[in-house]
Amino acid sequence: LAKTTQPISMDSYEGQEVNITCSHNNIATNDYITWYQQFPSQGPRFIIQGYKTKVTNEVASLFIPADRKSSTLSLPRVSLSDTAVYYCLVFSAGSARQLTFGSGTQLTVLP
């Protein structure tokens, strides 16, 4: 079971790029890395998912080094509305028991 470790909190200013790193040292071959965003009183929302190298979509990029023991969520030019908790999940095919959230990172974007 891949355990994830993230910073508890991060602060940034509007317009900056924010990088949040997640460590998952015992990631398995079949594991995927997925990031979610959660605002207060809402359910988590899927941001991005990857297996290796780099993935980019309209809201974020995900960088995964060759050893896959960590991953970095990159949010370009954050705004106040990006203030939220960000969760990194690592899980593999066929096992919902591995859908366990880590502690998450509280990102606060300051004006």
Binding site: Y32, T34, P44, R45, F46, G94, A96, R97, F101, G104
Partner: protein, 114 residues
């Protein structure tokens, strides 16, 4: 839009009085999950259904039960709520249990126990 809908958004129940939370989905996903999230904590998986196959987490109290009468609906029953069961309850779906199948969450039901 396809989505996961939880009703009600807020639920108040009395200590020991059974309560049922509901979840419906228009995504036609095979898998439905129930998570419990307490204040300032990460969501904690209670159980999930793969189609009609029920899977309970080892540390989920017996006080929590679930029903899935069809693909679209899933219910969380708390038989005798205690003060410690006050939390946000989140329903989620995925097309399969594969690692490349993201979760789609509803906005949760916040349960208060008085």
């Amino acid at each position: 839009d396809a989505m996961v809908i939880q009703n009600p958004r807020y639920q108040v129940t009395q200590f020991g009085k059974p309560v049922t939370l509901s979840c419906s989905q228009t995504l036609n996903h095979n898998v439905m999950y129930w998570y419990q999230q307490k204040s300032s904590q990460a969501p904690k998986l209670l159980f999930h259904y793969y189609d009609k196959d029920f899977n309970n987490e080892a540390d989920t109290p017996d006080n929590f039960q679930s029903r899935r009468p069809n693909t679209s609906f899933c219910f969380l029953d708390i038989r005798s709520p205690g003060l410690g069961d006050a939390a946000m309850y989140l329903c989620a779906t995925s097309s399969r249990t594969g690692g490349d199948s993201p979760l789609h969450f509803g906005n949760g039901t916040r349960l208060t126990v008085t």
